[in-house]
Symmetry: C2
Subunit: 402 residues, 2 copies
């Protein structure tokens, strides 16, 4: 797909699995191409936590994300533009996606959504409740940086993202909580659509070929709303589509909502699932047709002593908590075959010691491993698609899981 | 110097400056040689803080230090021996020195010495006072890890350091505070000498050629005591000598005490100044005949937002506090000519932002820079010696300083 609005971007589906909607794709941006399915790591505030972008590259990361809401408040779009944009600021030569900020205004404003299914995406629990009101023009909230009243409109979000210079940018949406009534979810979705229309208009007005816009499909857990929102998005000239809003209150419901929503999406556009990053969820998401995922989970749990591993080495779970005393005795790498810096040089017992001694190196080494794990997982998924054995590979992984 | 006790070590003085006691040397260990003067970076608890040993190497570090006291308490000498020793544990192929723990027992036990001239060496302010008593046999203290009573004797310190496997090891000494009476300092020095004799005896008994022992010269601020302690150490078969104990209560007094002490040291042995690491102090120390320095200062201040820089770019000071608001406007590297990863890729304004936003990457990038700064400072000092212009180089540096 190459068109007038997105001359420097393309998304080519190079393989479609049989028996599921899983697919291989090539997502081309002005900062290089990435193969999909792929995982987008979170440099939320314009910095990876615990590691440098050089360490991210070495661990296998190919595309990262920053958050417009946080960067708008500090250091501000003008400052980042003066710095030459996010790529220069972060020293990241690959593609970058920026989240629009709708989710943050909502979750940091209410504090409630953080406990739902996308809880690990941006917990907001350390922030005061800041949302003042949402009106047709946009959201009004109090900056957690300086306490000043701030307004966020679709036009501002597009303008700010233009200054940040990410390759892939998102329209502003209004997020809704799981516990909302259907009628409220519907009203909110309709406002999101009006905001997305304004985002698109602002994008088209200032567009210079360096960015591609994603629409966001809303509708909560309600199939008829997801259908309406999917068609709304598919019928407008977005480059890609993201699945936003509430995905329910359990992993099972999330899988159902994602699978159901994917039926109504544009079949040729890159599809991003916002804020989901568990290995099991990713295998399922790929099967439903998702091309990219993002989540703070892999890097956040690393700082708390949790390493992502294949379920076969974690008694069917997806992770090991290195703070557990049993690891004091395990003089082996986190994963025997892992090629990451941490696994090549350090043992579980040493990592356990680092967390016991409150040495920040522990979080850094686990972050490197978890990034490598996610990159290898996505590589493994793509290889299984390329070799026409995705269903078996998915089943084999999930058999190991409890 | 190559002898029966230290067949795999040597220290060769390759140049002596005129007009000062400054000298160039080559310190050979089983893990490679380092040129002196050099700086030893602190991986106190068997881990660098904020950076990996790979990042340390890339930034120019050549030799590091760990602390026997901390590692004895956790994870313990036996565990580190099981791990293959410190080199394997840390993934550090170069030389390692281990501190004996005398200073830590004293400073963590009393909390007092931390505020004196070596205050940045190991502040101990986060630890409860743990020293129970010092008796002829050794020190009795309470472990800050598990509250158990622990005894530290010269024999145990040597045995533990044998298990840790560092190249350069220190005898156990008893540290004294500045405010001690001369008679008390003398009694403590004499006990240190007896402990060092026992350390030496234990070292000789178990020696296997892989380690070299340093004696520690005590005597506080009193010239006749430093003279006695210097001769005591010089007349015993230590490989090297470290200047320990109180160096006074001001930078000026420290310089006087070090200069005075150096007169009484063995002229051919490598000489280490414990816990001193300011650039100005290093220039002076080298002039007095010091070969190696260690201090947590460069890496500790980095985590608090302070970058080491040449005084010409800091209005005559030795550092810049990146938390200062003026740096928000400075879109230039910390130092224009610095080849470190941080200076090649990031600006003062971005670093300022990282500290404003409490992003731990800020501490990591400043740690990399400060390590590079210290490595370059030592390189610059050695080059000035090699080119027979140490006095001018020292004067030029100090002219820039307020």
């Amino acid at each position: 797909m190459k068109d007038l609005l997105y001359p420097n971007f393309s998304f080519q589906i190079t393989y479609r699995a049989k028996g599921s909607l899983a697919r291989l794709g090539s997502l081309r941006t002005p900062h290089g191409s990435v193969e999909t399915p792929n995982f987008i790591f979170c440099a939320t505030k314009g910095a990876m936590k615990s590691v440098t972008t050089q360490q991210m590259r070495e661990a296998g990361a190919e595309i990262i994300l920053s958050n417009t809401y946080h960067l708008l408040l500090r250091p501000g779009g003008d400052v980042i533009e003066r710095w030459g944009g996010l790529h220069h600021m972060l020293d990241w030569q690959g593609p970058i996606l920026t989240d629009s900020g709708g989710f943050q205004i909502f979750s940091l404003g209410h504090g409630g959504v953080a406990h739902e299914i996308k809880g690990n995406r941006s917990s907001g629990m350390n922030y005061p409740k800041t949302l003042i009101k949402i009106e047709e023009e946009g959201a009004v909230f109090r900056s957690y940086v300086d306490g000043q009243l701030q307004r966020l409109t679709p036009e501002m979000v597009i303008e700010t993202q233009r200054k940040l210079g990410a390759d892939l940018v998102l329209a502003l949406d209004e997020c809704t909580a799981f516990h909302m009534e259907k009628s409220e979810t519907e009203r909110s979705m309709e406002r999101s659509h009006r905001w997305e229309d304004r985002s698109l208009a602002a994008f088209q007005k200032s567009h210079d070929g360096r960015q591609a816009l994603y629409g966001i499909v809303q509708g909560g857990i309600y199939e008829d709303l997801r259908e309406r929102s999917g068609y709304y998005t598919a019928n407008r000239p977005y480059f890609g589509q993201a699945i936003g809003g509430s995905l329910g209150q359990s992993a099972e419901q999330m899988h159902e909502v994602v699978a159901m929503t994917c039926q109504y999406l544009h079949p040729e556009r890159p599809t991003h699932l916002l804020g989901i990053g568990g290995a099991h969820d990713i295998w399922n998401g790929v099967a439903y047709g998702i091309d990219t995922f993002d989540c703070v989970h892999p890097t956040r749990i690393a700082r708390h002593g949790v390493a992502l591993v294949h379920p076969s080495v974690a008694d069917g779970k997806e992770s090991l908590n290195l703070k557990n005393h049993r690891f004091a005795q395990e003089d082996i790498p986190l994963e025997m075959e892992c090629p990451c810096y941490s696994c090549r040089h350090f043992t579980r017992s040493y990592l356990h010691y680092l967390f016991q001694a409150h040495e920040s190196l522990g979080g850094q080494l686990l972050t490197i491993h978890n990034v490598s794990f996610m990159a290898r997982l996505m590589h493994h998924i793509r290889a299984s698609l390329r070799e026409d054995r995705f269903a078996e590979a998915r089943a084999a992984w999930q058999r190991e899981k409890i």
